[in-house]
Amino acid sequence: MMSYLDFEKPLAEIEGKAEELRALARENDEIDIEKEVAALDEKAERLLEELYRNLSPWRKCQVARHPNRPHCLDYVEALFTDWMPLAGDRNFADDHAVVGGMARFRDRPVVVIGHEKGTDTKSRIERNFGMARPEGYRKAVRLMDLADRFGLPVITLVDTPGAYPGKGAEERGQSEAIARSTEKCLKIGVPIVSVIIGEGGSGGAVAFATADRVAMLEHSIYSVISPEGCASILWKNAEKMREAAEALRLTAQDLKALGVIDRIISEPIGGAHRHPEETIAAVGDAIDEMLSPLVKKSRKTLVRDRRRKYLEMGAKGLAA
């Protein structure tokens, strides 16, 4: 079942009509609807293209959060072999909002870490909607250490509304856990590449997305605060999220212009949720292209270049 976003409503109507005609034809062979259906399909295709060619920042937020968008484990399943999930932070718990483990990426052994949002009500609750607790970040730190010791490149897949704002999470040091994870990303002497596949929500995203190379899917977002949160603070009205989304410059295109990310991975027309396989394949190719030149570099060069990249980041503003 396709779930349509509010701005896709006209599309839903056309596609619904075409579907009705097809159903009618199935029941009655004497009705010839071929021409009509073809016209509707063409109209739908044109509309879809129009809608997605120029998505506003807010619409991109909606697409980035689409429930049918491929999530971390979809990528893991399609792009990696020998997937060996590893659990726990060795202190308190295993955070199911963060998945991590060893796997092979095109035969090369790597460590994969990512946020998992879940795909249905049950798994969304189990995954806490991709909102990690300190244990999740500490698990990531542990896995990055492991990667560092055994010379395995790290691949992170970022998709989180943000770190979980809960009582226990705060008591167990949410901020310290995020800080340590970012610190570890900067410290490891192995390549680290990151892809923002959906939502890059604030510090909870930075903790995994501090990397040698960062890519974003065309309709993913990466922001200091959610547009709703920003609107309620600066506009004193959460309904002003469209304005906030514009002002924050949270799209892949803006981030590329600001020099914060290295590349944009195109999504098929209609977004990743309409064409998950093509999207996942494109992400796989992008990871390969980002990783290949890095694996040849020495530990020292990797760490030095990574730090330099962040020290210099933002110096030119939008002129980067």
Binding site: A163, Y164, P165, G166, K167, A169, E170, E171, R172, G173, Q174, S175, E176, I178, A179, R180, T182, E183, C185, L186, K187, S202, G203, V206, A207, T210, Y222, S223, V224, I225, C230, I233, L234, W235, E243, A244, A247, L248, R249, L250, D254, L255, L258, V260, R307, Y310, L311, E312, M313, G314, A315, K316, G317, L318, A319
Partner: protein, 306 residues
């Protein structure tokens, strides 16, 4: 790249310089209601002498009381691109900046200085909550990087006083990128084997807590300071229950193992001297050896003399 371009010319850092003359000579303690005379309050580092409540203190006032004889040299912070996103909400970001500059008399939300504290050479950085909530943007990032670089260059410890609501929304993703940027600065200190001491003051929240403010070798907080990643209101809305008394306050964090110490501001300087001297393997400080607070001869080139 050298972040230190040059030093600013000597400047008067007097507590009672023109804009700091209090219009009202009395301040009412917001905690206990006691009326406090301004001179007495200043001498007490803005701590209520009646109940011990810690009121905000500006970075300049703090440094005057931290450095020997109130003498310190300001380290100039490289200026970032102004308004990098051309951000506009109900107000333009440059207008908000100008208003904050006018209100505080400071260029931005962090002050970096060097000097001696108990005859111990240090670099110090202090965040200014009065300046747009102390928020972390490119300037604050530059300030921390240049403080760390200066500390490494001179082989001094860095003491950082944090106070911020979090990242500066008007700088969007670039504000968020100060988390990794400032973490690189902390790494420089660690690699150089120099102490990095964080003093968390009220309030320190959001992305600031989740980066440089939680990565100190020693983590000290002022009493009752609010220290958190997510604010109490956001948490209450999420979990729909009342939070316990003192939740996310300094003492609560100490209890939960997130801090080394909670220290009264009036005892902080002595403690910082003791700690840094041990970490730098220097002999213990001799109290009598310290110059008197108004001694101008201790560092003739430095500024800040009254």
């Amino acid at each position: 790249m050298n972040w230190i371009t040059n030093y600013v010319r000597p400047r008067i850092n007097s507590l009672f310089s023109r804009r700091e003359v209090p219009e009202n000579l009395w301040t009412k303690c917001p905690e206990c209601g006691t009326m406090l005379f301004h001179r007495e309050l200043a001498e007490n580092l803005n701590v209520c002498s009646s109940c011990g409540h810690h009121m905000p203190i500006s970075p300049r006032e703090r440094f005057r009381n931290l450095f020997d004889g109130g003498i310190f040299t300001e380290v100039e912070v490289p200026k970032p691109v102004a308004d990098p996103l051309q951000f506009r909400d109900q107000k333009r970001y440059p207008d908000r900046l100008r208003a904050a500059q006018k209100a505080t008399g400071e260029p931005e939300a962090m002050l970096v200085a060097e000097g001696e504290m108990g005859r111990t050479p240090i670099v110090a950085a202090a965040q200014d909550f009065r300046f747009m909530g102390g928020s972390m943007g490119m300037y604050v990032g530059n300030a921390i990087i240049c403080a760390a670089e200066r500390a490494v260059e001179t082989g001094r410890p860095l003491i950082l006083f944090s106070a911020a609501g979090g990242a500066r929304m008007q700088e969007g993703i670039l504000a968020l990128m100060q988390m990794p940027r400032t973490t690189v600065a902390v790494e420089m200190l660690k690699e150089a084997g120099l102490p990095y001491i964080v003093v968390l003051t009220h309030p320190t929240t959001g992305g600031v807590t989740a980066s440089y403010a939680m990565l100190g070798d020693v983590q000290i907080a002022e009493p009752n300071a609010l220290i958190c990643f997510a604010g109490p209101r956001v948490i209450e809305q999420t979990i729909r229950e009342k939070l316990p008394e003192g939740f996310q306050r300094a003492e609560y964090l100490l209890d939960h193992g997130m801090l080394d110490r909670v220290t009264d501001r009036r005892k902080l300087r002595d403690e910082l001297i003791t700690i840094t001297r041990m970490m730098m393997k220097l002999p213990p400080a001799i109290a009598a050896d310290l110059p008197a607070p108004a001694d101008e001869t201790a560092a003739p080139q430095a500024d800040g003399a009254e």
